[in-house]
């Protein structure tokens, strides 16, 4: 059974406003707007167990609860009192992540409905969509969808009356990975460099232009209409292995059918890879995988039966992240893969704090040496030391700890490959 992807036809055009409504679209917005108070919606979202699907997994209801309510009691006139913002984080730039693109291109109205409900529930006056520059098709489709809703709000359509008091603005990023970090994103929206801000104060209290702001990922917001429409209990029951709700899982790498599937939260990596992705390509064996994008720790074939959810993966020593698996097969060099990842992180470090700005290029240059046959004894220990110096608490934001997660875990699981590169002064995968 499909929920988030029920309107998405692979390769097809997304539904127009009229088609989307014919399939029950914006009924949840109408229900929220006319049948629920902002507090009711927040309570429902909290009960649903929904957690942030951009990677951090923070409970969405809690995040929303930190937003101050100038109005006190709920009211049916959103936008008249609050001066807060809600932002859809559509800056999907995590290497290996391609789920938000599907949601934005496949069903833009679902994302906008989620954003509008969030704006109502949070009593926000303005809603922003922060979209990455390279998602040109999503930009075109979102602009069209926003124009359709705007036109409906001026045509006396009572469902969209309130839309006139909530402005929705699409911001297309000038491009930098740090824009995906919520405080970096706020700085980018304000027109500056996407450097992170100190927390506290948290954005829900002091956010965009100093006003209360909630930033939610696309997939998180896409869940909202369904939770409002069908209830928290229904959503919770969709999960498996003790998890709540649904998840778009992705697989890339040397499998027979790379792709994205909407599955119960808590599906195992084995089911995802072997059943949905059709197993490894002929003759190749799974050696390891990053469960949720570039900034998560490697796991191995021994972890295939771990449910892919926030808590289980944390216990296993990694993170769910974006839930888009990147597979390492036995004919791909783990050192080369680590080098590719650290090259990305070194390039995208925003340069705000010294350990990250200088430490990541250092890890990259050591990995260059090892992979090119110039590695020396002591390089592995130097990499481990750098990973320690870039661990949580040593840097300004979570970028560097995320950057060294795959490296430290690669050094743990594939250590003999690093040693062999240094011993033999070559990469044996290059033939």
């Amino acid at each position: 059974m499909k929920t988030l992807t029920k309107n998405i036809a692979p390769g097809g055009e997304p539904l127009s406003l009229r088609e989307y409504r014919a399939r029950g679209g914006y009924e949840a917005f109408g229900k929220a707007r006319f049948g629920m108070t902002p507090q009711d919606i927040c309570a429902e979202v909290t009960r649903s167990g929904l957690r942030g699907l951009g990677g951090a997994g923070f409970p969405t209801g809690s995040k929303w609860s930190f937003m101050p309510r100038p109005s006190g009691k709920g009211s049916d006139h959103p936008g008249e009192r609050g001066e807060g913002f809600v932002v859809m984080n559509a800056d999907e730039m995590e290497p290996g992540a391609f789920k938000d693109r599907l949601l934005l291109e496949g069903d833009p109205h679902q994302a906008i409905e989620g954003l509008l409900i969030a704006a109502y529930a949070l009593e926000a006056t303005s809603a922003f969509i922060f979209l990455r520059r390279e998602y040109a098709r999503a930009e075109k489709l979102l602009r069209r969808a926003i124009a359709e809703v705007t036109a409906a709000s001026h045509s006396g359509d009572h469902v969209f009356d309130s839309f006139r008091s909530i402005t929705v603005r699409l911001h297309v990023s000038a491009g930098r990975y740090m824009c995906g970090e919520e405080t970096g994103l706020l700085n980018a929206l304000e027109g500056g460099r996407a450097q992170p801000r100190n927390k506290p104060p948290f954005p829900q209290v002091v956010g965009l232009f100093g006003k209360p702001t909630v930033v939610n990922n696309v997939e998180t917001l896409c869940c909202i209409p369904h939770i409002v429409q069908r209830g928290a209990e229904w959503f919770r029951a969709l999960g498996r292995n003790g998890s709540c709700g649904i998840k778009l899982y992705g697989v890339s790498g040397r499998v027979n059918r790379p792709g994205i599937w909407e599955l119960p939260m808590g599906t195992t990596a084995r089911e995802l890879i072997e059943e949905h992705a059709g197993g490894m390509q002929g003759g190749r064996r799974l050696r390891g995988f990053l469960p949720g994008g570039a900034s998560t720790d490697f796991l191995t074939a021994a972890h295939l039966d771990t449910p892919l959810d926030f808590d289980s993966l944390q216990k296993a020593g990694s993170r769910l992240g974006t839930g888009t698996l990147i597979l390492l097969d036995d004919r791909t060099c783990p050192v080369g893969m680590a080098r590719n990842l650290e090259t990305f992180f070194a390039r995208e470090s925003c340069g705000w704090c010294t350990p990250c700005r200088d430490g990541l290029p250092w890890t990259r240059s050591i990995l260059d040496d090892i992979e090119e046959g110039r590695g020396t004894h002591g390089d592995i220990e130097r990499l481990e030391l750098l990973c320690k110096k870039l661990s949580p608490g040593s840097t300004f934001c979570a970028f560097a700890p995320g950057a060294v997660s795959p490296l430290l875990s690669a050094l743990h699981f594939f250590r003999e490959e690093f040693e062999r590169h240094i011993e033999e002064k070559r990469c044996s995968f290059k033939g």
Partner: protein, 172 residues
Amino acid sequence: MLTAEELAELDDLLRESSRREAAADALRIVQRHRGWISNESLHDVAAFLGMAESSLETIATFYNRIYRKPVGRHVILLCDSVSCWIMGFEPVRKRLLDQLGLPSMPGTSADNLFTLLPATCLGACDHAPAMMVDDELFCDLTPAKIDEILARFRSGAATVASAAERGIADQR
């Protein structure tokens, strides 16, 4: 000097944004017309926004998709992130470099038709390797497919290239 067309678009931008938040968008408007942001463009946009040139420069240099050097008629963004790397990025990169006559990436072909830039994950990992040419996404790349794609852009290039040359001449 900003053109009348650029000024009109910048004025539109300021109808919905404050000057401060408009910085990156203003640069992108000018870049859309000129391909890149020259020192002169930077100066003019800073003056328009009432910003110090150095403040605008910190923004121009921070973002990947604002170009402070000239680019060719078509910008190729080749994904060099992990899934594409696993799925055959290297032969695709080599073919692009050969075809464009470049020693390495980034670079611009001698005929000024293509600029090749490395890009972070384009979010098409189930169809890796991937690249974009201008706003168009190309997936499941192979060296043979690179030849086809470049041929397509070259065949439509004769008139376009002369327009681009005129554009460069105008700036001088």
